[in-house]
Amino acid sequence: MLDGTTAEIRERQALRINPAKTCQPIGAMYAALGINGCMPHSHGSQGCCAYHRSHLTRHYKEPVAATTSSFTEGASVFGGLANLQQALENIFTIYKPKIVAVHTTCLSEVIGDDIPMIIERARREGKIKPDQLVMHTNTPSFVGSHVTGFSNQCASTIKYFSESSGETKNVVNLFPGWVEPADMREIKRMAKEMGIEFILFPDTSGVLDTGHTGHYEMYPAGGTTLEQIKAMGDSFQTIAMGPLASKAAAEELEKKCNVPSRLLELPIGLSNTDAFVNAMRLAGQVPVPASIEEERSRLIDMMSDMAQYMHDKKVAIFGDPDQVTALTQFLVEMDMKPVIAVTGTPGKAFEAKIKEICAEKCPEVEARAYSDVHFLHQWIKNNPVDLLIGNGFGKFVAKAEGNIPFVRFGFPIMDRVGHRAFSTIGYTGAMRLIEQITNAFFDYRDRNDPDEKIELVL
């Protein structure tokens, strides 16, 4: 497995090996699917759209509908105006969405297609009707990563549709960031439990985790509705989770509709969930209900029960910045040692944040942004770890290093089903993380220890 990888680390300037990020449009597609009745549209050649749909489908094991401008060589030379206009006519006639969310690809970015102009012209020429909504976001893949695309789609949606009527409502906007549908469900459950009025945006629950009824719905019931998106401009506060994924949207709403925002880490683990609950408490001026207190205490109970198995264990972690920083925080809370944290997404803030989180527990932590899984792997070869946490690609590294305990976390996971169904957000999600982490250790021992060391009881 990965036999060409050696322990000798060379600094590379040009070659990415086994990336820890992908391109912007897939993030835009995912975020757009969190809008009710929305058809994501990829403006470029059809390969990008095919790749993004396949990838999301494999991760969620759910249908992912999206359309493409199907550029050919001609469109690449003369621009994609005709393609986009024809696409919009077809989409509204055949697939009847409430809204089409156009995002760009490398190709249309390099050509320099002016999407708002194309939409505007289609409208003027009657090719799209006044009630047929179209929005756009620019998602150049040579900037940022898939998380940037998610963030851009969210911010653009607000720019297009949120409005303030002048009357502020007693509603909190919750921006969940790029998390799983199950996580979005969990955020909604917690907010309901807290008794606050809220709008969650985007919301892929009920879109990418639908049930089986024997019928296919191109636009399932889930997703933030356009009315809600509009109404977000009247909310009195936004709680934005995951700085990279949600900050731009929060700022846009603040700028456009004057809704102040509070920026939090993703509510993964104890203190990040505490911060989320506290933010809801303050925003809604509500007491924290006994049910949430109980959830919290159950988490603490499990942390104390399992502490001995996690204490000082060395962990390597890779993935998207918001996820990795939040989870690293939790690892530290459990007295584990995050020794290396890697993301493919560019941005030095990641490195600083990881160092800050680990300052006490593991000051020697290796933190790398705009890096890759190959680097992480080489580093592990030099500095063996007890646990690897990352997306599905991590399994190759885990196997190459003698099947080190491995917990799948992040995007994408194409070889398991749990991530879509079971949340890792909030107190209960944190319990699930503990279960997964300790199981990884126990399974490793049960598989590898000699008979005399196999124990029935923990």
Binding site: M1, L2, D3, G4, R10, R12, A14, L15, R16, I17, N18, P19, T22, C23, I26, H41, G44, S45, Q46, G47, C48, A50, Y51, R53, S54, H55, R58, P63, A65, T67, T68, S69, S70, F71, T72, E73, S76, N83, Q86, N90, T93, I94, Y95, T105, C106, L107, E109, V110, I111, P140, F142, V143, S145, H212, T213, G214, H215, Y216, E217, H374
Partner: protein
């Protein structure tokens, strides 16, 4: 009261519209221009004289299509599986990422110390700076870094969408680096906008493999019967099953293009005496070019399904013409069939009369019809994702296919006879001697001649047409790809992924056929679809009352 009358198959059949009506219902919704285009790609089949299908034409923008791009066809399908070439995608990160381990080209390294580069994704991860100022320098440096890191025997570069537009000359960089590093380095201009589907990428890949790899190593190969298998990508281990069978027969495979193959196999594969072609669409160019240059004849085979496998083995044996081989092949067939027969007989008792529809790729939608036939199932509709007219109507239409702008842009290599190496082992003469009515070379009869009359042939099926098809026919199983899988299954129809095999397989050859029969049997008889209705929705009120529990203490 019983619903039997409407549930019986006869009554059901009475309600099912004809293929022509179904076609009309699918087309109804389209705007005029789109309809005109789609009409040409949807035909009611007449196997006696296949109609002209508008294949290999552009997908209408806005239509949800299965198709991907030229890069996917080139890197993803044809070259990507060569395990000991170091593959670098030149472009922003996405394309390289999505083609990382996402096709199930199974691979074993040949000897310790080798690296299977399929486990790696390498890319120049282009940033804005390269988009503005050009990416050639970064590409050259990336090649250097790859060389320093892995010391591969060859490096291959793939261009993605922006590369052509910003004007990077990847071939120049490859030439320079080849000279500098002294290993084989070559590039593919397979930008995603080329052509109308993956198909353009296949052609570009064939050209590159032919130019840069074929014929480099003249080392003679031991073995009496030496062949190459072209267009077999070892998804789920198909190529290994074919290897197994041919080895039993005493036939040596030099190169399988390109499933599980090594760079050395490819450079040496012109030492074969015959090319047999599995996936006609993706590799017919190579078969033609190798014949022109080296005089190695080719014919089409199909190792999917028992009849196809038997026919193919017998034809190969007949080509070599040795009694020893002909007998050996019969022995192998007899022995293997003794294992297959009981399974297919058993499965057939449950699958006979069931229906299937297949929409996939450029050859599988045809090949897999054999397996369904074996099981007594009927294929009611089929179509390719990116095939050409010859894959539907047969190669005899080739002279009549009009060249359009999208195809004209794909280079057609000028190939000449190799003066020193043409017909070295008398293969061209053997072909001349054999060629007759019963023994055809360079042949492919296409899908439509094999399909039933009044079935529906749909090229590049759209999402809408798929939904309609299920509504109208509710087939018992559909063979398709990952993007459709869960759409189909939400409608209560099992979907077999025929690109990835749903992580199963192999399905080729005899053992593969057994796997496939069992898999389709499982899928068409699974209980899971019956659980959709909760019991309380079905129960009549009277029955509910009768079933009410007695109070325990009464």
């Amino acid at each position: 009261m019983s619903d039997e009358a409407t549930d019986s198959p006869q009554a059901h059949e009475g309600l099912v519209p004809s293929a022509a009506e179904a076609r009309e219902q699918m087309l109804e919704i389209y705007p005029k221009k789109t309809r005109r285009k789609r009409e040409k790609q949807m035909l009611v089949n007449d196997p006696g004289s296949p109609g002209e299908i508008g294949a290999n034409s552009r997908t209408v923008p806005g239509i949800i299509t299965q198709r991907g791009c030229s890069y996917a066809g080139c890197k993803g399908v044809v070259i990507g599986p060569i395990y000991d070439i170091l593959h670098i995608t030149h472009g922003p990160i996405g394309c390289g990422w999505y083609s990382w381990l996402s096709r199930r080209n199974m691979t074993r390294i040949r000897k310790a110390g080798e690296t299977n580069f399929l486990q790696y994704s390498m890319s120049t991860d282009m940033q804005e700076e390269q988009i503005v100022f050009g990416g050639e320098k970064k590409l050259a440096l990336a090649i250097q870094e790859a060389y320093d890191e892995f010391h591969p025997k060859a490096i291959s570069i793939y261009a993605t969408c922006p590369v052509g537009l910003i004007g990077d000359d990847i071939h120049k960089v490859c030439r320079e680096m080849k000279q500098k590093l002294g290993i084989n380095i070559f590039g593919f201009s397979c930008e995603g906008y080329k052509g109308v589907s993956q198909s353009a990428g296949h052609h570009i890949a064939n050209n590159g493999v032919f130019k840069h790899m074929i014929g480099l190593d003249d080392t003679p190969v031991e073995g009496k019967y030496k062949i190459n298998i072209l267009g077999e990508y070892n998804i789920g281990g198909d190529a290994w099953e074919i290897d197994r069978i041919l080895a039993l027969c005493g036939i040596k495979i030099i190169g399988t293009l390109s499933g599980g193959v090594s760079y050395d196999d490819i450079t040496n594969c012109h030492m074969a005496d015959l090319n047999v072609v599995m996936c006609h669409r993706s590799i017919n160019y190579m078969a033609e070019m190798m014949e022109k240059k080296f005089g190695i004849p080719w014919f089409k085979v199909n190792f999917i399904g028992i009849n196809g496998t038997k026919k193919s083995l017998r034809k190969i044996a007949k080509y070599f013409g040795d009694k020893e081989l002909i007998d050996r092949v019969e022995e192998v067939i007899a022995k293997e069939m003794s294992e297959v027969r009981p399974v297919v007989e058993d499965v057939k008792t449950r699958t006979s009369g069931k229906t299937a529809a297949l929409f996939v790729g450029g050859s599988r939608a045809h090949h897999y019809q054999d397996l369904f036939e074996d099981m007594g199932m009927k294929v009611i509709s089929a179509g390719y994702e990116f095939a050409h007219r010859d894959d539907y109507e047969g190669r005899d239409v080739l002279p009549h296919i009009k060249m359009d702008a999208d195809t004209r842009n794909i280079e057609e290599l000028e190939v000449e006879q190799d003066p020193a190496r043409f017909n070295l082992r008398g293969t061209a003469d053997r072909k001349a001697a054999l060629q007759s009515e019963e023994f055809s070379f360079s042949d492919y009869e296409g899908m439509m001649r094999q399909m039933g009359k009044d079935t529906l042939v749909i090229d590049d099926i759209s999402h809408h047409e798929m939904e309609k098809l299920i509504e109208i026919y509710k087939p018992d199983v559909i063979g398709s790809g990952i993007k459709d899988k869960y759409i189909i299954e939400k409608m209560g129809v099992p979907c077999k992924q025929l690109h990835s095999y749903d992580y199963g397989g192999p399905y080729a050859g005899f053992k593969g056929a057994i796997n496939f029969y069992k898999e389709i049997d499982r899928m068409t008889s699974t209980k899971v679809w019956k659980y959709i209705h909760a019991p309380w929705h079905d129960a009549a009120p009277a029955a509910e009352a009768a079933a009410a529990p007695e109070p325990v203490n009464a």
